[in-house]
């Protein structure tokens, strides 16, 4: 029988720093952060799309603009945000229909989302460079 008189140590201070989160939690907070980034970057994306399709001169300006190292770096960040949001989103769609909700499967798919989005960002980033 449990000792009901034992004094519990209160309050409990949990370490909620993102680095201490389990993998599914990390995917979750990155999903939110990448979503916010994508929303903020949407205006930039429209700007780039508009410039590239507007005219011959616009297309040339677009190519020069995208060639700038700082722009490339930002594009890389945007690309990661998109890829992470994409793969994490697909994972959530499967969770919605009760696929992969067990702990081992949830951990494995979280790991896959983080790894695949980072690897694809690196791969596409190298191609863009």
């Amino acid at each position: 029988m449990p000792d009901l008189t034992a004094k519990k140590k209160r309050p409990l201070w949990y370490n909620l720093s993102p680095l201490n989160l389990p993998l599914p939690g990390l995917v979750s907070i990155f999903h939110r952060v990448s979503g916010a980034l994508l929303f903020l970057g949407l205006v930039w994306f429209l700007f780039l799309l508009d410039m590239s399709l507007a005219s011959e001169a616009g297309f040339a300006r677009f190519r020069a603009y995208v060639g700038h190292p700082l722009v490339k770096l930002s594009l890389l960040g945007f690309l990661w945000a998109y890829l992470h949001h994409f793969f994490a989103g697909i994972r959530y769609l499967f969770l919605d229909i009760d696929k992969g909700v067990g702990l081992p499967a949830a951990r494995a798919s979280s790991y896959a989302v983080l790894a695949v989005s980072l690897a694809l960002t690196a791969l596409l980033g190298m191609r863009l460079w």
Binding site: L42, S52, I90
Partner: protein, 115 residues
């Protein structure tokens, strides 16, 4: 187990559903557009523009842009509801972001009509 009385409106179901549907539409459109861009080379203005003028590219891009506005609205609203507690500030921010998305929608249409 918490007893819940189910009365009233739709508890955000339409937003939840719209977020899922637009997500699937955007994922498919992304795959189509990536294939299109992958196959286009060398990347000159003429090829770039005629690529987007192809009906399946144009359809994918327009569905993508329309979906992204709806999807972003649901997401932005979720984030604001989670972190911005004072109703007045939250409402003000919601109006700002909603106006931004409305403006982006018009801008996106302008880009699409010009292709």
């Amino acid at each position: 187990m918490v007893e819940r009385t189910i009365v009233g409106a739709h508890y955000g179901l339409s937003g939840w559903l719209a977020q899922r549907i637009t997500a699937i539409v955007m994922a498919l459109a992304t795959l189509v557009m990536v294939c299109g861009i992958w196959s286009a080379s060398p990347l000159t203005y003429a090829i770039w523009k005629s690529l987007f003028a192809k009906w399946w590219m144009w359809l994918s891009l327009s569905l993508f842009l329309l979906s992204v506005m709806l999807h972003a609205w649901v997401g932005v609203r979720d984030i604001l509801m989670d972190y911005i507690k004072p109703t007045g500030i939250r409402l003000a921010l919601e109006v700002v972001f909603l106006l931004a998305l409305a403006y982006y929608t018009v801008w996106a249409m302008q880009i699409l009509w010009r292709i």
